[in-house]
Symmetry: D2
Subunit: 296 residues, 4 copies
């Protein structure tokens, strides 16, 4: 669709910190050269730490302008996950360039990125709001941690060889007690990641939902549960656990959860404004990425 | 919650046609006696065909008054499924009495029904809207069937011993081609029924969603998919099928689908207004019915 | 391995009855021409019904000589399944040519078949014994059906829209009662077919085992069970079923099973002597067919 | 069955080291008193470390006589797992008393143990051989670890938040490369433990087999595989792993596996001689433990 001309005035590049991948660097150089030639300001987000190789001005988080800047992530879905925190905090629009293989979040390839990005700058794009999880850890009433995740919260065994024990409440209603390897709480965005390997369902990105999936539950009748993302999920770490549990956000260990502590998870108030080229079709990405049948 | 006094003026009983179960009949007699004594009109919905045993006036569909009548189903979840079509067409509120075992839809037991139903008549109840599927079958552009289902649409092999072939489109976007035993398209209400046996996720009743689950897909990477119930699902029966496929709605065979025909499934415009006693808790029902752990 | 010269004296071709596939016919013509030129007798198994197109002498079952004939199936795994009954009855060695796509049972492709088959005739092959199921249906003590299957027995709903009910006993020990869509009882050979779609495990072909997999069991804790193929499995059709169940052997409907009847399934005394080219590797076939990862 | 009188001359009690459970201690005291009265020697295996509370002579491993001693484990399946190493090394017969709840390995309850154990001493028992895994870890050609497990080997992430990478070879044939949370290699005895939570099949205890189950594989078409226990399984830890993987044997962390190392797993030459009371029925235990349906 062609929109009211959104006057993107600056491109801000983002790559994963210390990202050594050659394709990423050569992509970024190509982008810098191209948009320098077009006299469109192109800068590097400061944490990406590649400025010494790119010869580009850097920009810090507080200097970003959500109405006229676009954050262009280079490097695949993992890199976009890393940028999601910053992008949702600032409210800046984000789009992704992969390393040659289609991503769930990064639609543009190095081959087609220049023309596609020019179209995007002209206002020719699809925009969707993706929800993040807000994850808070409490000890009694003291908040010990507050963070966010675009894909998922995984509560895992940590270093314990034993099953872990926890209870789940949704909107203050007791759901169940579990003995399991852990629990995955996933957004629609994360539903095609770890959640899918664990037997969870695919959630359409625009479904206002979370998926809750117990991991290798001792009880054979545990099943994935999908709830509204207006709900608040409380996970109480049983006092019977002998060792702390590990909390992973988007695959990175964020904290330990001790016996007796509890997690509160809900929809983060700050959204991710994810852009796609105009020819983006969700179900095409899904079918291609999962190897689903395309013909009779 | 106590509401604005909803002035239920009449109780309309419903039982499955020719339902021979003794508990059902004795329940209904108890209800008739009790509310006759209280001078609250109690009638029998005409298709229930038990009036010769109940000595109660019967009422036909067009005589129902959705603002002052309440439809009381006796007999378990299967009976409530049978009444859902009538209730959603008329727009009448519905509540269920089981045969002694907690149901997902029928919360009241024969033991507690009299007091609980009196409370409901006084306006002390929980009310929720449950969506039904609207299922239409087309041959080219001619509509061959239009029907509704509270739980699910199952597209199955019919009498064919072979895998069936079909394609799924959502909102006119091609999703995938399947070779499988069939497909289950379920509402949240149906998510704890056949969908669950087939590996589909549990959807909270208030989630605005459908689950789509291929049955025993030949392709090992087929997975359950959950989409918004604002979406429209098209299922195209491949012309390569040698025999017609069977369409089941809420477990009853509704029609045959020939090669080349297609189904259109979306949210039915008419809702089911399902009531529960005030002490109803969804997750308690879920945990009890599925045998989930209640203590550490 | 090079064996004691097995003096295969005749090639007997087999194709599925009325098999119209072009590749199959052209393959068979190529085989006939090639081995006619080499003066190696090549005949057509009579039920294949293609002699009018092949100009080849036909041979009937009783004329087959298991010590000097080799049965060459053309057409893929389904065709080899069709030939398995005959081959195991006669005790003749069997080998398969596919239609260009690797099969689990048919290893040779049209491109390489001539050289590979010459090697096989010279005694350069791998030979393995595959067990078949012996399936018998009883009414009280009267045997109503006796048949065999190389892949699987499927007990299914037949035309009933309802769950079916049956009990399983193994070696006369009661295992469980089931309410389900049906049951799959699979050999190792069949474990990569329907069993796999239904969540059953892959059994190595030389494992002396059967897999028993309930289909969409109402009970969520039903699980696949693998037992010794020295065991005898009894499946009792509950008298509560309202309609007959359908018995499928290797995907073909073989019989109806009425309420109160029972099936006895064990290892058939007659084996299938399946040959492979010398370069055959089971795990390569498995990995390629299932799309498993071949590199880091 | 009544056997040739096996002249068990001594009972050797075993409990998990430092096992504080009250039922266990009271059970053991009851056993000691009972068999003291009968003048049947009853001793305590030395590592059980409860002699100060039991007033019973202790016996060390080298003093055990496999032909006339019986090892009686008190405390449930976990305790029997702990005793399996000792019992299989010595070759002594083993039997288990649970803490009131039926176990897969511990059939006798505190209530019935005295009479049942007397019968066993008289030679009235069922005996079965259970295979253990032999697990060896190699660095190039140096063996770093050799151990055994009755239930399972689990190769897990260790402390790494990332998927781990490894390849599996069976009998020196390459099977597949995996990116996953890990791998479970289970005996029939272990098939109802962690393997079952992870989607693996139940293997009958007398099936000569192992189950190999990838955990949360990134690839959606990974499936459980069952092979003969005459096979040798090699698991190569990919050099791409950034952190060591953890090796768990019967749920206890045994070692770390570094990138480039490999595991060799096969059937241990020493068996476990497991006894059951004469009325033991495997499928009854299975049905009761898993909550399978017992009636129509």
């Amino acid at each position: 669709m062609v929109r009211d001309p959104i006057s993107f005035k600056r491109i801000v590049l983002f790559a994963r910190k210390h990202h050594a991948h050659r394709t990423v660097l050569s992509c970024m150089k190509k982008l810098v050269n191209h948009f320098n030639t077009l006299n469109i300001p192109i800068l590097l987000e400061v944490t990406s730490s590649l400025h010494y190789k790119l010869n580009t001005p850097v920009v810090e988080q507080h200097e970003l302008d959500k109405s006229t800047d676009i954050l262009v992530v280079v490097g695949g879905d993992g890199s976009l996950l890393s940028a999601a925190s910053l992008a949702s905090e600032v409210g800046i629009r984000i789009i992704g360039i992969n390393r040659g293989y289609l991503g769930f979040l990064t639609d543009m390839t190095p081959k087609t990125m220049l023309a596609e990005l020019e179209d995007v700058l002209k206002g020719q794009f699809q925009e969707e709001q993706r929800h993040l999880l807000r994850v808070r850890l409490f000890d009694d009433k003291t908040m010990l941690m507050e963070s966010r995740a675009l894909n998922d919260l995984v509560l895992g065994r940590g270093e314990s060889p034993y099953l872990v024990k926890f209870s789940v409440l949704i909107d203050n209603q007791f759901v169940s007690h579990y003995r399991a390897d852990g629990l995955i709480l996933s957004t629609p965005t994360g539903s095609t990641a770890y959640n899918l390997s664990a037997g969870g369902p695919i959630l359409h990105p625009q479904l206002q939902a979370f998926a809750i999936v117990p991991m290798f539950s001792h009880s054979l009748n545990a099943r994935p549960l999908v709830i509204s993302n207006d709900s608040s999920v409380q996970i109480k770490i049983s006092t019977e656990n002998l060792a702390p549990l590990a909390i992973y956000l988007d695959g990175h260990q964020a904290h330990l959860a001790q016996s007796g502590q509890y997690l509160l998870v809900d929809k983060h108030p700050q959204l991710l404004h994810l852009l796609h080229p105009n020819n983006y079709l969700y179900y095409d990405t899904l079918r291609i990425k999962l190897g689903w049948g395309s013909k009779e």
